[in-house]
Symmetry: C2
Subunit: 264 residues, 2 copies
């Protein structure tokens, strides 16, 4: 009897959890009464994976119009439209925060795109450095990962995914007002360069680019180039050697918690 | 000709990178002149994967004796011993920092063990909460992931991996002097609870346990239990919903950068 009561209590707990919303990123404009046609992949996801049907709720966002509630209208056995009803959140603009990183092998690359998106990056930019081993990056796959993470993480926008670019070209695209947060393995573990302290001391930062290097670090030429940037902060992510994906999350955490939208 | 010069310069850059050390965690005592017998898996790794042979260098650590240099002595075609020569680093003690987390599906579980190890956790503890879906955790696999990450991240010790435990039992094993850093999705995005600020305001923390919940959050009973802990800090990891593995890295980053060994 005691056990049954506990089982019932557990059941009530589970029932009282908020139902997870299905969220979709779409290209089209969203407004009250609009009919949105999901892509074929999205229709498959809604009808076959999520098993939604007529009248089921789906949240929509497009990076411009905030978040809206919509209802499924089946147009075939496995196809549907979404009829938009009410706005649930107004559009907000996240931090102007880029992540530049030397790409790593495929699984970890997926991971970096997901995590950068979860951590609120506005732009994800794979850069080719002197010691980078990867010769090609699948931009579509990175974007798909960024979109999926945005849908799951309740973002209202999706990070822009840039083409794989040589480091010098990417750096020259940073104007001087954009703070370059250079995660430099050469100062790893140096207290003076502790990322949160350096960022806090720098005062408000409105536009930033975090740079994570490859396993072998940066070449001497690259170090010169980076230090020539008007507005470069060299930071340490602690005494241990972090993998590129861990370093990306750690650096984004430091930024968001000191200068970004964790403090908003 | 210009291209050839560039190719040569690149080659020199690559050659001048420090050769990555092969590092192994071993159980046995390590001291000058000691002969260490690697496990069968380690012998396979050294001789077949890394293709090392007589005289090649391997770094050893056991969590007690610091880091030592050793040389391979082949004892068969694919078997070897390691002869210890000089100490390269003295043993240090990292932060007394536990990670308690509700386990997630297998791939992400591997990932959490690796990342917790990279981030310098002293104890990794999967806990079963009311809304946790996972019924079994493979401790050996988690430990193997923690060991591998310790070898790669230049740690001098390996985090202790605990058995899968019910949350109330794990919480009652925390004495009151251990700060419970409760990553609470109910305060997500609240500036007052911003993790780095809360940790900085708490002053020096010598012993901590970070707690990351399951996707569905904590039950009302669990919330009561956690808040009863003498020394509980409720923290926010920003406004977005983070996956458990991302949340673990983010929380560990906040701790290490404010109270832990990034500031040492």
């Amino acid at each position: 009897m005691v056990i049954e009561m506990q089982a019932l209590a557990d059941y009530i707990h589970i029932m009282s959890k908020p139902t997870p919303k299905t969220r979709l990123f779409v290209d089209s404009d969203i407004g009250s009464g609009a009919i949105v046609s999901p892509t074929n992949d999205q229709q498959h996801y809604l009808t076959t994976v999520m098993r939604l049907g007529d009248g089921d709720a789906v949240a929509l966002f497009n990076g411009r119009d905030g978040e809206w509630l919509s209802q499924v209208t089946m147009t075939g056995r496995r196809s549907c439209d979404l009829v938009v009803s009410a706005q649930t959140r107004v559009q907000t603009v996240g931090p102007d925060l880029w992540l530049l990183f030397a790409p790593v092998k495929k699984a970890r690359l997926d991971f970096i795109a997901q995590k950068a998106s979860e951590m609120g990056c506005s732009r994800i930019w794979p850069v080719r450095t002197d010691y980078t081993q990867v010769s090609r990056v699948n931009d579509d796959r990175m974007l798909a990962n960024a979109v999926e993470a945005a849908e799951q993480t309740e973002r209202l926008d999706v990070a822009e995914v840039m083409d794989y670019t040589l480091l010098p070209a990417a750096i020259s695209a940073l104007d001087d007002s954009r703070t370059l947060v250079f995660c430099d393995e050469a100062v790893a573990g140096e207290r003076l360069h502790n990322a949160v302290d350096v960022l806090a001391a720098a005062g408000p930062i409105s536009r930033a680019a975090i740079l994570i290097g490859p396993e072998g670090g940066f070449s001497a030429d690259e170090r010169l180039l980076l230090q020539k940037h008007e507005n470069c902060l060299k930071v340490s992510l602690g005494p241990r050697i972090l993998r590129a994906d861990t370093a990306a999350i750690a650096a984004l955490t430091c930024f968001q918690s000191v200068c970004g939208d964790w403090t908003a």
